[in-house]
Subunit: 205 residues, 4 copies
Amino acid sequence: MKKSQSSKEKILRVALKEFAAYGFGGARVERIARQAGVNKAMIFYYYSSKQNLYRIIIKNSLLELIPKIQEAIAVSKSPEQFFENLPKVYIQYFVKNQAVMRMIGFELIQDPGNITSVVRDIFTNIPESPPDLLKNKISIWYQKGLISEPDPVHLILNIIPLCIFSILGKPMVEAILDIKIKNNIDFIDKRINSISNLLKKGMLK
Amino acid sequence: MKKSQSSKEKILRVALKEFAAYGFGGARVERIARQAGVNKAMIFYYYSSKQNLYRIIIKNSLLELIPKIQEAIAVSKSPEQFFENLPKVYIQYFVKNQAVMRMIGFELIQDPGNITSVVRDIFTNIPESPPDLLKNKISIWYQKGLISEPDPVHLILNIIPLCIFSILGKPMVEAILDIKIKNNIDFIDKRINSISNLLKKGMLK
Amino acid sequence: MKKSQSSKEKILRVALKEFAAYGFGGARVERIARQAGVNKAMIFYYYSSKQNLYRIIIKNSLLELIPKIQEAIAVSKSPEQFFENLPKVYIQYFVKNQAVMRMIGFELIQDPGNITSVVRDIFTNIPESPPDLLKNKISIWYQKGLISEPDPVHLILNIIPLCIFSILGKPMVEAILDIKIKNNIDFIDKRINSISNLLKKGMLK
Amino acid sequence: MKKSQSSKEKILRVALKEFAAYGFGGARVERIARQAGVNKAMIFYYYSSKQNLYRIIIKNSLLELIPKIQEAIAVSKSPEQFFENLPKVYIQYFVKNQAVMRMIGFELIQDPGNITSVVRDIFTNIPESPPDLLKNKISIWYQKGLISEPDPVHLILNIIPLCIFSILGKPMVEAILDIKIKNNIDFIDKRINSISNLLKKGMLK
DNA sequence: TATGAATGAGAGTTCATTCAT
DNA sequence: TATGAATGAACTCTCATTCAT
């Protein structure tokens, strides 16, 4: 019974990496099975289809990420804290969970409807509507004259891209500038700092 | 002769959309052929393999995009202009060429090495080194005390993500905030504005 | 378990015939599958590619044939016995295993390097070097004044062609002479005899 | 008009090599066209199909070879001369025309009926029946007590295989004996000699 | 004669999925 | 739970052949 448990979970762990590396279309059930050390048929026994396995992984990933973000938003009593906490939480999570980040990336490009429906699904199980909480917060800050961007959509779209793309886009920017960054840990720290400064200088009044 | 020309090019046009919609692994040669109104074998006649077709499209796309960016950089005599021109050019291009944007996105997630090598390849055919020109510009602006971020990597990583992700991330942010944006043209204009303001307030001294 | 065993082996048996009948290029995987009564995909499941299946069959065939020849050489205490045993063993084997003979024939025409490398490969797994044993035998017989051809290459090339080609060349010689041989068993016996006599009279001193 | 002539013939020359190298199934029309420096469609314009091209080449080859053999037989006034002339003519022809030899080899393995029908076809256009001439010659020699093998089929099958296989089988025998023959011209001379001696000692009374 | 484009059938191969045990 | 064998549809790619010019 123990072994089955571990098999079932190992499949999840391995499949996440596979989907992140190749996307849904490029991922191979057989490769997942081999790397998880289980028989191919077990994947279907536990998860019934490749599609379903994919959905479960997406959902699990968001179920792990979203509360962290909610928390970071909740503890931010001022926009200053908000502009510091959000990049830090996002980037640190994505650095540690690059496979999750890649899967989310794939989904956004290929079928945003998919991921947004999962997000909405998760939100409906939370008593206080996270969208409302966030919108209220922003609205209050703006009314108090603390921030310069009143539209929550644009405010959020000024933050999240900087977080997600900071890791994904690094190799491309290295190519564009013909620079090779060696120390990745330093880079991440500087990245968080640079984004926080940009957001604070750029959107605080 | 005319028909062949159109066949060869039609394949390119259709394939770009297919790859953008499904990624390399999920794209189907047969679907490309059907939509281009050509025999499946013609794709191999002209492009010899799916892989090769993909590479050519990536390269063509970048060959079209990069000069526009170079131009936008070149005409920017001040960092102020720079922070205005770059988002405008990027976003307007991506709005019109969403398939290109999606393909670049896929590549960055799946195999950044691939796209960076194409970028480098294109750069070597330009007499004045684009990386050097850009780095010099930034360095001079910083020495003159015009901008607050001295590191070109971080400066660029504060710009490009905002441009690429503004279109890709829109549906997700709509889900997060439970808002549905109707007028897309207005949205794009506001997006460009919001980014320019953020960058100017956030990185000009 | 039993059925799978039989499937795997049945493929081998059927494929040998197919390759013998049509050569590698002309052989059809689908025909092999149909005749073996298995799903086409099983051929790749067990043998991974048409090429690989072909190689395995060639190797198996030689692994069966070569020891018989080695044995026939080993038991020949005099050149007289040698000139009797070798044609008998060769021809009787090829009569029973015409498919093997044809495959070897194809290989010798198309890519002799291929088959010679397999032969060498098999030899390296035999403790006493078969080439050396054979060369020694011939050398001793020549020194004792028993045979007239000192060069082992020419001696062997005076034997093997007569054996292989006796079956393959029969229809052509029938055409050349406008004769139709009815009783094949008699023919084979006479063939073995005629060759033995030729070799004994022609190469014994 | 001249160019067309040369194209038509160049196709024949190149196709012979192609068929000899890969067999009918493995030969590629496109490769023939490229190597002949003509458009693929021209092959069908001149020869209407791959099959037909193949047949024509087989026939042409035999039309060139057979008269040489007939001549060698005709000039042989004694079995001694016969056993000297035949190997010499055969082997020297095949050394110079290895592609022809290979094509004949392929045909004999794959579909002997094909080549025998062509042989018969050629013979019907010769006034004196070659089979009869040959059979008579052998019969007379035997009646005169000059040769030991009365059956023409076996007599011929004691000769031709040694000639054809001497070139084809060389690499394999080199592998069997672990010997590498350097000088090919010497080898051929020795081969002809060894065969002639074998036949003379072995079949002359 | 000559060409490049086009075609359709089918080749080998892959893959998610299911079955029997 | 677990396995190896099996399946069928679909995939990329090939190739002899034909068409339009």
